[in-house]
Symmetry: C2
DNA sequence: TTGTATGCGTTATCAT
DNA sequence: ATGATAACGCATACAA
């Protein structure tokens, strides 16, 4: 196999200067004769421009980063499905970062921005530390954060009203006559964990229901630990009649436990969760879940970033996606497991 | 915000030449005094090396591409989860390509290899056309294909014995006493579709069962069409007692239909599928599914690519992952929907 | 040990 | 319209 062709190779073959080659390749005005010679030489050699050289010269990488804690979570999946085509259509490649639920990893990604291998970054931080804020401010490329950031942070921001989301679910359960509504949450030192914790208490208060610490259990955001946490809660509260889970994966774990314990869902225990991923429609019974608009958030993030990449500086923007309760059989079904 | 620092900036600040800066930054022997001056200058300026310049010089991008038809399919997910950490540990970033179930898109990705924005590529082609083979041969970067390719194709290759996988499932259903085993497949002009089609016929023959075209229905690899195809099949074959689905998503659609039609699973119709994704354990009843070792295939692909990137040329290698039947309640459970 | 100078492949400026 | 040349940021061969 011959050497990789460059514009120099083409120039020799076509008997013109590299400047002419570059011009032809970039569609700048050129004499027809020159153009055809260059084009055919390029075709014959199978020329493809070198992206590193291009990036060095143009100071643009045509790449966008997407940093998430864990690709296993279907919420992120829904986002990627929206983001990828938008980026591709705009001529950007997608560099995927999985940060292993590790704040230090997130910082590394932010620091990496300095290498300029991406023109912008979409990130979903699990926690927003002071270190994060410092990096946001110093970042040399536009950043879009999905999730809440403090007022005034110099990044575009896509958020959802998870407080309202939790309230929708709790009110729904309350309307169904449930009064002992348990809550299985993820870690309290994460952005979603903290928000949902506060929102749960708030929602109860709004309905005049007492806050009972026994009704709350904290684990992580995954199915196995969700099952364990749900088991602890169920074991502790005999008269539990509803369970709100902080995401669908936790809810799957809870359903596992309820099935094992032969508690009928929803007759004895109604189960609601959050995120409304595909899993909600696969589970049995199908899960009532609060959609936090994952797809919309992904799309909005991509659009914000592309807009900024195309039009340069402007004031940071905040897009808020409304939560929406999707009612399924795990709260109102006539069929149980 | 000040300008982005380069080694030139550092050199000025430290009062040394750019060569010394480069040497220090790359850990080459330097006088302690020089080293400390360069290091502190770099730290103060917040220097981060420019990846484009590095790539141009080193002819390496430190990126690896992963091209799949559709990120929505959980099979690919399982692979990414293995691939990403391995690449990261080896110092490579992951560039994700979603090809929209479009062969032309796949060719585009292969052509893009010439831009040298990745050092290697892992691809799961849905179809392998002559155009694909031509690009494989001409590729200027190492390629690992997950899925079968013709003998002698100059790429590393990770495959699974889907013939055997189908046979495992069919034999399992046969052992359970099922004799009217339907098959819902994806498109026949895709690699997996074609292989599974042939394997189904073969497996029946091996068991002495007749091949009945009425028992076969073709759709795509997704849940909605899987449901429609299953509905056609069920409507056409009254004495159907088992259903093999070409993947888990199709099986979910089939379960939807069977539930709607009030056919008990597995008592009346046993359901088995392929891929053994997470969905198999979420579905109700949990799906008996043939694991094609998605995680192992992803890992093997990453290892093959990293090995080649590290050690250069060697003969193409083929890794085969054994299929494994995972039996769950959709074929042997006592409980149905 | 350190500095000078060159090249990686491209785009863009400036003459011609 | 075209060619010579500089510059992007870095690594390195060579000279000092």
């Amino acid at each position: 196999m011959s050497d990789v062709p460059t514009i120099t190779t083409i120039a020799q073959r076509a008997g013109v200067s590299i400047a002419s080659v570059s011009r032809v390749l970039n569609g700048l005005p050129t004499r027809a004769e020159t153009e055809s010679r260059v084009m055919s030489a390029a075709r014959e050699l199978g020329y493809v421009p070198n992206s590193a050289a291009r990036s060095l010269k143009s100071r643009r990488s045509n790449q966008v980063g997407f940093a998430i804690a864990d690709i296993g979570n279907p919420v992120y999946l829904a986002m990627i499905r929206e983001i990828q085509p938008l980026l591709k259509a705009a001529g950007y490649r997608l560099v995927l970062h999985s940060t292993n639920v590790d704040a230090a990893d997130e910082i590394d990604v932010l620091r990496g921005l300095g290498e300029r291998y991406v023109d912008g970054l979409i990130m979903i931080p699990l926690r927003v530390t002071g270190e994060h804020l410092k990096m946001f401010a110093a970042a040399r490329a536009p950043i879009v954060i999905i999730g809440s950031v403090p007022e005034g942070t110099p990044v575009d921001n896509v958020r959802t009203d998870s407080r309202k989301g939790v309230r929708l679910a709790v009110e729904h359960l309350h309307q169904l006559g449930r009064r002992r509504i348990g809550f299985v949450n993820g870690p309290l030192d994460t952005v979603p964990g903290a928000a949902r914790s506060a929102a749960y208490a708030e929602a109860l208060a709004g309905l005049g229901l007492p806050y009972d610490p026994d009704l709350v259990e904290v684990g992580d955001f995954y199915r196995p630990e969700g099952a364990r946490a749900a088991a602890r809660l169920i074991g502790r509260v005999p008269d539990l009649d509803a369970l709100l889970c902080a995401n669908d994966l936790i809810a799957l774990g809870a359903l596992d436990v309820l099935r094992r314990e032969r508690r009928r869902v929803p007759e004895e225990v109604a189960v609601a969760s959050m995120d409304d991923t595909d899993l909600a429609t696969v589970a049995w019974p199908p899960l009532t879940s609060v959609s936090l608009g994952s797809a919309e958030r992904g799309r909005a993030a991509a659009e914000l970033l592309l807009d900024r990449l195309a039009h340069g500086d402007r004031a940071p923007r905040v897009v808020t996606v409304e939560p929406r309760l999707v009612i399924r059989a795990s709260t109102v079904g006539e069929e149980g497991p």
